[in-house]
């Protein structure tokens, strides 16, 4: 197991625990948590903060009859769907369990990668809020320098990259400050595969990258 050096900010984990992150960003956090027991602890703390806040809410009475209704409902046998969560398939290959359903249980090399620019391919993934995608950066490829108007979470799934903030390896998550610009470069002989969720459109600098922007769907 590799040691994880980069984690989501606690403010991000608080929003995750509160259920106030976009679904795309929540999924990225979930994938990081699979590898990071430190963040599982921090997540649990943030959830316990939430539950204590709820305990301190001024109670609002349920309507008359609600108590009898619930007792009636206890008799009903659960539908398959509303019962316990479906156990996740055992982890195999390189895809985090939280991502397996979304990828149709395919491995990375079985996906249809679309070329964005030389050395850069992506797979857009469905999500309702914000954008979610896999990005594959060929060895030595340097992404255009860009800033972000909103928040972006990048989780390395395979390989590694280096940018102004450090070196990011499998399991590492870059929770980029909104005003930081960065220019990631895949820094080994192996392609780097990242899972990226954004909240808002990215702002690229310079003419050529600006032209690229529509292709990124970032």
């Amino acid at each position: 197991m590799t040691i994880i050096h980069h984690h989501p900010d606690i403010s991000t984990l608080m929003s995750y625990a509160a259920g106030s992150l976009s679904d795309s960003m929540s999924l990225v956090i979930s994938c990081h948590l699979e590898h990071c027991s430190d963040c599982r602890q921090r997540r649990a703390s943030a959830e316990s903060l939430g539950s204590s806040l709820v305990e301190e809410c001024s109670p609002v009475s349920m309507s008359t009859g609600a108590r009898d209704d619930i007792l009636q409902m206890l008799n009903i046998q659960p539908h398959q769907s509303s019962a316990a969560p479906i156990p996740k398939p055992p982890k195999h290959g390189e895809v985090p369990s939280a991502l397996q359903r979304l990828l149709g249980h395919a491995e990375f090399d079985q996906l249809e990668w679309k070329t964005l620019a030389p050395g850069m391919k992506q797979v857009a993934l469905p999500s309702a809020e914000g954008k979610l995608k896999l990005l594959k950066i060929a060895p030595g490829t340097c992404l255009p320098s860009h800033g972000h108007s909103g928040t972006e979470l990048t989780l390395v799934l395979k390989g590694s990259y280096t940018d102004e903030c450090g070196r990011f390896q499998a399991g590492d998550l870059e929770d980029l400050d909104p005003d930081t610009k960065h220019q990631p470069v895949a820094d080994t002989h192996e392609a780097c595969i990242c899972l990226i969720a954004t909240d808002a459109p990215l702002k690229f600098e310079g003419l050529v990258p600006r032209l690229l922007q529509p292709f990124f769907g970032l």
Binding site: G19, Q41, S48, S61, E129
Partner: protein
């Protein structure tokens, strides 16, 4: 009937108002464990009477109409009844376990009609592990939040109850996005330290 085995004193109790005699966190956890073991309805009602009115309040604050809030509360409490065998007091407090059920129901409700949505099952894996439950003393927490700088307290409230993203909070409070993140960070650290960490 196993109900006879359970010692409960509900005599001074007003059902459904949430004005129950103080339930300690440890009591609630053992209630849940017993519920899984004995399947006692009276035990269930003790849990229901404490949590239902609080969850209703929470869901209303998150934007649910009263009737919807109540519907979701019933659904959440039904999940408590059906899934209490998966509750592990080593890994979470009763309150946190129930909170996450209600939270997941609420976000799934919000996304119900959105295309391509990811469900709470995709986004919240049940991978909790033994944890230093730092925020179990909710009364003390309430006091500490009152003592926070006003803006930090507001930020906590925005995140947990308004359901807004950091960007939306920044826009609404007319502060930079970076200040939202640093304010939350400071508030969390302060509360964590003042609540004394691992108990």
């Amino acid at each position: 009937m196993s109900d006879a085995l359970i010692k409960t004193d509900n005599t001074k109790f007003e059902p459904g108002t949430g004005q129950s005699p103080g339930q300690s966190s440890a009591q609630m956890a053992s209630n849940l464990v017993d519920l899984a073991r004995y399947r006692s309805r009276s035990q269930f009602l003790v849990i229901y009477d404490f949590f239902a009115p609080r969850l209703k309040s929470y869901l209303i604050m998150r934007g649910a109409e009263s009737s919807l809030a109540e519907e979701l509360v019933q659904e959440a409490m039904l999940s408590v009844w059906r899934r209490c065998d998966s509750f592990d007091p080593e890994k979470a407090t009763a309150s946190t376990w129930i909170f996450t059920i209600a939270r997941n129901l609420w976000i799934d409700h919000l996304r119900k009609f959105k295309p391509d949505r990811l469900s709470s099952l995709d986004c919240y894996e049940d991978i909790s592990e033994p944890v230093e439950t730092e925020f179990t003393d909710s009364h003390k927490l309430k006091q500490l939040i009152k003592n926070l700088p006003c803006q930090q307290a507001q930020l906590i409230h925005q995140v947990y109850f308004s359901g807004k993203t950091h960007r939306e909070i920044a826009d609404e409070m007319a502060i930079p996005l970076g200040s939202v993140k640093s304010g939350l960070r400071l508030a969390f650290e302060k509360l964590r330290k003042q609540l004394g960490g691992n108990q």
